[in-house]
């Protein structure tokens, strides 16, 4: 297990370095001069030279890459072209808002998805099953940004229950009010996937011998379902939950834009729009790290969830 963990961490490190290199090259090799973008219609060659020199863009690309890697290993990820602030600080300030959104969306997904999946499985082929699976397909099919706009239309503008933009003030109640709709928009597809996964998993487990044995021993059906069946049915569901956390971070790019919510995704979109190379490459590096970490944790957690699984 320990060897496996070290091996996975090493692989993760190499993946992150690869991601850093690809992102560094991509943002520089795509057509376009960030300085020209910054100056826009007020472009003059003198002004452009001043900015290129200031940002180190006048140096050959391999020098820029070497500087980027050496600085990154010392914890210096560079300064934003636009705001002039360290990109690390800006991202770290935005991170808690994305984290709270990801967690809230996951909580929503699980509290809706798992019970619906169980209900559908226990009432297989009934109208409950059909309706819940229909909703599941619908929520998988509707893009998050569109669902976000619909939620805003009805719950914010129509009923006035929730605000349209922002993350809210320091008070918990205000923060939660700002969190509800984005969490639903972001969590709906995961809720739908969880419901479908839970349903098929519970259906499969309910046909196992040990369930029949439990029933034959006269154990109450509720205990059969929740103690014996659900516990085993959750293994594949829990596995996808880990990955969906990483996916939620990716999905936050769109949802944070629709709700004008402060966060890493919104920051990344604005940085791309502003052609802020340094902020973009750190943002993508951050996402790469999250994905790699979550993958490693998921892989390692399988053994914890199912003692039959062992790593060689």
């Amino acid at each position: 297990m320990k060897t496996y963990a070290v091996k996975r961490l090493l692989q993760g490190f190499i993946t992150v370095i690869g991601a850093m290199t690809v992102v560094f090259l991509m943002v520089r090799l795509v057509p376009g001069d960030p300085v020209a973008t910054l100056l826009g219609d007020y472009y003059t060659e003198e002004a452009a030279q001043v900015l290129r020199s200031e940002f180190g863009l006048h140096q050959p690309i391999y020098v820029q890459y070497f500087n980027y890697l050496t600085d990154a290993f010392q914890g210096d990820f560079g300064y934003s072209f636009v705001t002039g602030r360290p990109v690390y600080n800006t991202l770290v300030e935005a991170f808690p808002f994305t984290m709270e959104l990801a967690i809230a969306s996951l909580v929503f997904a699980l509290t809706i998805g798992v019970p619906v999946g169980v209900m559908a499985a226990l009432n297989r082929n009934s109208w409950i099953d059909m309706l819940s699976m229909a909703f599941a397909i619908a929520f998988i099919s509707i893009p998050g940004f569109y669902l976000g706009v619909l939620l805003l239309q009805y719950f914010s503008l129509g009923l006035g229950w929730f605000p349209v933009t922002g993350v809210g003030g320091p008070e918990l109640a205000d923060r939660l009010r700002h969190l509800v709709l984005p969490a639903i928009a972001l969590g709906a597809p995961t809720a739908a996937i969880s419901a479908r996964m839970t349903r098929s998993s519970v259906v499969e487990v309910m046909g196992e011998d040990y369930i029949r044995t439990a029933r034959s021993k006269g154990i109450h059906e509720r205990i059969v379902v929740f103690k014996h069946a659900l516990r085993n049915a959750m293994i594949p569901v829990v596995a996808i939950i880990g990955l969906s956390v990483a996916v939620r971070f990716g999905g936050s790019v769109v949802i944070e834009t629709v709700f004008a919510r402060r966060g890493v995704g919104y920051l990344l979109i604005q940085s791309i729009y502003d052609r802020d190379f340094v902020q973009v490459q750190f943002g993508i590096l951050f996402y790469a790290c999250v994905l790699v970490l979550v993958n490693i944790i998921c892989d390692l957690s399988y053994a914890g969830l199912d003692p039959r699984i062992r790593y060689n």
């Binding site: 001069d33 002039g84 349209v164």
Partner: protein, 537 residues
């Protein structure tokens, strides 16, 4: 019921749900303004009584005027910075602000003397604004050690000198009638004055963290979130008196739909908008959103590479101009808003600009005749051009390409490019045409500089590679108003005859406001002035 049948039913139900959501979401906009029956609904998140929330769409690239680029700076700059002059909201002409009066010119026009108000105070306790601060601020733009991004703008300035505490002189290398615009606080803020003492105390990095100005509002450093929110509090010691509104918040929201919904929910009081369909959908139709339009001092034009054949002949340039249906651009891309320019790029609202009565008609037959005169069959004309890749300019290019096709031209196409690619490619002589937009201000010089030989690439953005008006443009910089008008008119005639650039469209700007905001005045080139606004009771 078989498993197959139940799956089909589930899929059918899902389809009905998806279509149902889509149908609800795509419903038509309200046709009339209807006040809500339940007033409580619209009281959700209403801003504090003495606060205005003005959403901006662009990030701010730093706070020191000398290093600031992009238009995101202009609105906040006018709040916390002070300038010798500000733009009059209705006429867009410079009017005294920190300066007591308009400048006095020396006999040879190379020295401007300006007296400033006594008693103007810097924010954060940095004392009184003096002529020394003014001279220090402007000299930084021409100091080679500072590397101001606006140094080209200050080409005429040799030195600013503080004569006494309240008098400053600007020494120019030659007379320049348009120089006063450099002293005016406007987009992108190069007229802003900074405190010499604060600069010496905090340095460049310190001032980026804690901007110090002398304008009507104080930058709230505690609540500042880069790229997210700017907050300004009233400057109680402002030399013209503290502003009526206690606080201005500027959240940054780029998505137009979100902006409009936030206004409908009263989370935002006002914003500038670029999205015409959103404007049409919401303004005056959805309570409480109302709006104002204004003619921007702005030109979208097609630069013709005059060193390429057949475009080196003015008749070919006029021919291509005749093929473009500019009214179609206005109707299709801008839903009928904006102005169609005359045959020269100068905006009719600019100072010293006259109506010379030369227009470009959409006349395909005339275009064919002119092409024939230069020895080219219209059907054989081949040309490539480029423009921005935004949705607005993709539509723009599509209408232009349709015009070229309908005119029976051979292979003429304007290609929309991603913004960075466009910036890279626009200076190449391989382009025959470059469709590009320029926002400017009412002095004609910045527009005329776009066709000056000094701006031919790689040193500038004269993508028509044309310099025949250089002498006249140089002469037009005189300080005598009548003389300037005469020379500018002569340039207008020359541009109309030579057609190095086809003027395509003068843009209209849109300001969306809720019924909570009063005092919004519009003029040529709307310039947000915090003093003009008040909160309706």
């Amino acid at each position: 019921m078989s498993r197959f049948t139940s799956r089909k039913i589930a899929l059918l139900l899902a389809s009905v749900l998806v279509l149902g959501f889509a149908a609800f979401g795509c419903g038509p906009p309200e046709e009339e303004v209807e006040e809500p029956e339940d007033p409580d609904v619209d009281e959700v998140d209403e801003p504090d009584e003495d606060t205005i929330i003005y959403a901006v769409g662009e990030a701010v690239c730093g706070w020191l005027p000398e290093q600031t680029t992009g238009s995101g700076f202009s609105a906040p700059a006018r709040l916390f910075l002070e300038g010798l002059y500000r733009l009059d909201v209705e006429t867009a002409e410079p009017v005294p602000s920190l300066a007591k009066d308009m400048p006095e010119y020396s006999d040879d026009g190379t020295v401007l003397t300006i007296e400033i108000h006594e008693g103007a105070k810097w924010h954060h306790g940095y004392g009184e604004v003096t002529a020394e601060d003014v001279a220090f601020s402007f000299n930084r733009h021409v100091d080679p050690d500072v590397d101001s991004v606006h140094q080209a703008q200050f080409w005429a300035l040799e030195e600013a000198v503080a004569v006494d505490d309240y008098t400053v002189e600007f020494h120019l290398s030659e007379p320049f009638g348009g120089f006063i615009y450099n002293l005016t606080l406007m987009h992108p803020g190069w007229g802003g004055i900074i405190s010499k003492e604060a600069f010496e105390d905090l340095g460049v990095e310190g001032l980026e963290e804690k901007p110090v100005g002398a304008g009507p509002y104080v930058f709230n450093t505690d609540e500042y979130i880069p790229r997210e929110a700017l907050v300004f509090d009233a400057h109680e010691d402002y030399f013209k008196g503290a502003p009526d509104i206690d606080r201005v918040e500027m959240p940054q929201i780029e998505d137009s739909s979100t902006l409009a919904m936030a206004m409908e929910a009263r989370e935002i009081d006002m914003t500038l908008l670029r999205d015409v369909p959103i404007w049409e959908e919401y303004t005056g139709r959805v309570y409480p959103i109302d709006g104002h339009t204004y003619d921007e001092i702005h030109i979208t034009k097609m630069d013709i590479t005059t060193i390429n054949e057949p475009w080196d002949d003015p008749r070919a340039r006029w021919a291509i101009a005749h093929t473009i249906d500019r009214e179609a651009i206005r109707q299709i891309v801008y839903e009928g808003y904006g102005l169609i320019p005359d045959a020269n790029i100068l905006h009719p609202d600019m100072m010293h600009v006259e109506d010379i009565g030369v227009d470009i008609e959409h006349d395909v037959d005339r275009a064919h005749e002119l092409f024939a005169e230069v020895g080219v069959e219209a059907g054989d004309v081949e040309a490539t051009g480029c423009t921005y890749g935004s949705a607005e300019y993709r539509n723009f290019a599509e209408v232009m390409n349709t015009s070229f096709a309908e005119a029976g031209l051979g292979d003429v196409e304007i290609e929309p490019l991603e913004r960075g690619a466009f910036h890279d490619q626009r200076g190449s002589v391989e382009n025959d045409f470059v469709v590009i937009a320029h926002p400017r201000w009412p002095d004609p010089d910045p527009f005329l500089s776009l066709v000056h030989g000094d701006a031919i690439p790689p040193d500038g953005i004269n993508f028509c590679w044309w310099d025949e008006a250089d002498d006249l443009i140089d002469k037009s910089r005189v300080t005598d108003g009548d003389e300037r008008t005469e020379i500018v008119t002569e340039i207008q005639h020359l541009l109309s005859e030579e057609m190095p650039q086809v003027p395509l469209y003068h843009r209209q700007g849109f300001v969306m406001v809720t019924d909570r905001v009063g005092g919004v005045k519009m003029g040529p080139g709307w310039h947000f002035d915090p003093y003009q606004l008040y909160i309706e009771e």
